[in-house]
Symmetry: C2
């Protein structure tokens, strides 16, 4: 069988079950393809004919008088025999189909003879004809760089980036995409997005290998419920992790969770302890929840790995700074940066007189008296010190602080240092709520992720440090 490329680079796409009704998947898929910029031929298919979103509707797949390599099915499962017949006629006449994404539900996940029969019919046809199949019962795929979005998730921001995400749950995938689209600056960038559904053909293992091998993927996220081939699953993830970071949200941690996972996707969750051990061994980062998955992927995509264990906490607020220290110290992965006397002097010179510098070491409380310039200049002083490998940067909105100016200053300064060869990860937590959206947007737009809380910023750093240690060990 050919590899999964056809799901992403297909020339010509038919959408079966196309609809003019905005609450139907068959319309949203067309809207998403258009929004993603798909320009290789888009063909709504519906016996009713007419026009949808300005596109002429075809009565069947074999009636399309142009190349069609991809078919997206959004029609009810009961229509499967008819759909297979259409595709068969097309293969007999033109033979151009390469891939099918079946977004419809009502197949083997129902665990009844009818659903299983429809799935077997569709999968059998595809297999015989060398056509790759994703689903049934999947949300679809997105490839921002290949300008394709076969999903029916509304509102996705098609911003290019280095994150790819592969999911055994369409809902978790949708949750992540909707969260990303709601982030400051209007969207976290990503590359490939794949939900595997019932895995009648392409499964979670092949999907993660495919997304991981993509050169545009800088960080790979995977949501796993389980697999009958758990060893191969982990080994495939491990092979990717040797080259780029892999962040896994594996559910079924508890017996009850494993039972629920088995009931959901019919997968055997497998012993969680075995997964956990393998993740540690192979440098696969495990996220505790979707928030951590998202934070960690954003950090891996955008930030350089820390080149050592020296961390400096630069905080404008005492309490949030302590929260940061607690979270950092509960791992034994870091040491406070012992910055030089020259750095301490530089900090003293660029900060308000009431700032508390290096009491304790590796920590400066620049106080609420700090303005935008104080933030930027002290961050620069700290980044220039060779004992500093990562900086946690915490600030709480105040009246006196020009947050947008601070964010612009940070972007300019970090770019300037990069040109000098100083490139270290900075983890900003700019608190809180709507007051900080503009400044966070300025950072995010320039490619600098920001975090909802000091503890979430620390956990992203912890993930990067763990992965960095793994890479050093396995060199």
């Amino acid at each position: 069988m050919p590899d999964m490329r056809a799901f992403f680079d297909a020339k010509g796409c038919a959408v079966i079950g196309a609809s003019a009704n905005p609450t139907k998947a068959g319309r949203q898929i067309l809207a998403n393809m258009i929004a993603a910029g798909y320009d290789r031929g888009l063909f709504p298919v519906n016996a009713s004919g007419g026009e949808i979103l300005g596109l002429p509707v075809y009565a069947s797949v074999d009636a399309i008088d142009a190349p069609v390599e991809l078919v997206i099915i959004a029609a009810p499962a009961a229509a499967t025999p008819d759909i297979v017949a259409q595709m068969k006629r097309r293969m007999d006449e033109r033979g151009d189909l390469r891939a099918v994404v079946c977004a419809a539900a009502g197949f083997a996940e129902l665990k009844n003879a009818e659903g299983e029969g429809h799935q077997a019919l569709l999968a059998g046809f595809c297999k015989e004809n060398g056509i790759r199949l994703l689903g049934p019962n999947c949300v679809g795929v997105i490839d921002v760089n290949n300008k394709i979005d076969t999903t029916f998730i509304a509102g996705t921001a098609h911003v290019p980036g280095g994150i790819s995400f592969v999911s055994q749950s369409g809902a978790v995938g949708a949750w992540l995409l909707m969260s990303w689209a709601s982030m400051p600056a209007g969207g976290v960038g990503f590359n490939k997005f794949i939900t595997v559904g019932n895995m009648a053909d392409a499964d979670i293992i092949e999907s993660l290998a495919h997304a991981g091998a993509d050169e545009a993927t800088r960080a790979l996220g995977v949501y796993i419920e389980g697999s009958p081939e758990s060893r191969r699953l982990v080994e495939t993830a491990a092979a990717v992790a040797r080259k780029k970071p892999v962040v896994v949200l594996k559910v079924g941690r508890t017996d009850e969770g494993a039972q629920a996972a088995s009931s959901h996707t019919g997968s055997l969750a497998g012993s969680d302890a075995l997964y956990e051990g393998a993740f540690n061994q192979y440098g696969i980062v495990r996220a505790r929840n979707v928030e951590e998955l998202s934070d960690t992927l954003r950090a891996f995509d955008a930030l350089p790995l820390p080149k050592g264990d020296g961390v400096f906490i630069l905080t404008q607020a005492g309490g949030p700074g302590i929260i940061c220290v607690d979270e950092l110290s509960s791992t034994n992965l870091f040491k406070p940066s012992l910055v030089s006397d020259a750095t301490k002097q530089a900090l003293k010179e660029c900060l308000p007189p009431i700032a508390s510098i290096c009491h304790p070491e590796g920590h400066a409380d620049i106080t609420a008296a700090a303005g935008a310039e104080h933030h930027v200049r002290s961050l620069e002083a700290v980044l220039r010190d060779p004992s500093v490998h990562a900086v946690l940067f915490i600030t709480v909105a105040t009246l006196f602080l020009d947050l947008a100016g601070m964010a612009r200053g940070m972007v300019e300064m970090i770019e300037r240092l990069r040109k000098e060869g100083i490139d270290k990860p900075v983890f900003p937590a700019i608190l809180a709520g709507n007051w900080t959206q503009e400044s966070r947007g300025i950072l995010e737009k320039a490619g600098h992720p920001s975090f909802e809380s000091p503890d979430r910023a620390v956990r992203a750093l912890v993930a990067m440090r763990r992965y960095s240690l793994f890479r050093e060990r396995s060199r």
Copy 2:
């Protein structure tokens, strides 16, 4: 000394260091007092005279020809001798001052003779005259019901509610308030808010006792860095916890964090293990971070305590449902609700045919085919079953689902059941991002908290169950 009432019910308030400059605390405090609805006499004080926000500016506190019970200081610490002289003249002439909130910094927290001297002068004057002092170096107090806001935090939503919050960090307080103001429906309601600053007089212990004793307080949150009287601190919190839930975010969990806390507020953090043991013994809920503090307080304020350990998970999405099961099962506080055959039948009748009902027990996957009515009717069926003591309700935005209609239906149904005497906590996680703000706003406005993720919803339930068990044990 009188109790802390004067900070909240004072008649007549002078703001020293009043300013027309919107980036100055001395203007924001006036704006906040006006926004909070303070109507008992507001008097800007500044030698420069003129008018600020339509209010005439007085040259000194003793020049105000109306009752003044509260003085808010937003002038530099160096002005302390002059301010004390003004207040002394006023006490000699009219003797009406009862409380001082000193928002200015530059006092004992600097750990130098000048700062300590200014603090001693201010505190000494207040003590001699029976005037209560909050701060210096504090953010101030808010009392939504008493229509007062002495803080300089911009954008607080003065919505009445049952949460009170007492903080040893002004920044953590500000962070929480700004987060609340950014929530769907434009603001989480609260009652009293107190930041204690340097604790020259009113300290964290008295503040939590005062806020806890307030009848309008239904749930008390406390951010603790440490106290030289840690035993009395915990016992005071314990006394409140016997009557209403107390949620504590205690930092200084690690040695390094304790050292940072000591450096910040000069407090001895004390052994974290001793605090932890006491919290468990006295039914004081410990939050892991600010997000959990906020989620838990909102749940305690709005929801009835679960009356048993039977939990039902009603989910429209498989993956997020499994995340929920994992989080729930990692405690041993709950059992899946074993609902009756009649309830299963009712669920079957009101759900789409592909719904998975009670496989496993205590769990229904109503599937992405579920519309608003399916959500509301299945939730009602579950709530009516006596084996159900709490419901985790998870849904992910889809095209097909009228989320706003669902939220309105939920509010109506829950109110209707309450009238029938069925009042159980429901923990909704409606995912994700901006797509769910309207529906979450409808729920929140009607007094039903919603949560950012299934795992955060579970942790709020866990806190409620722990507290409920403590109340049962100590009856």
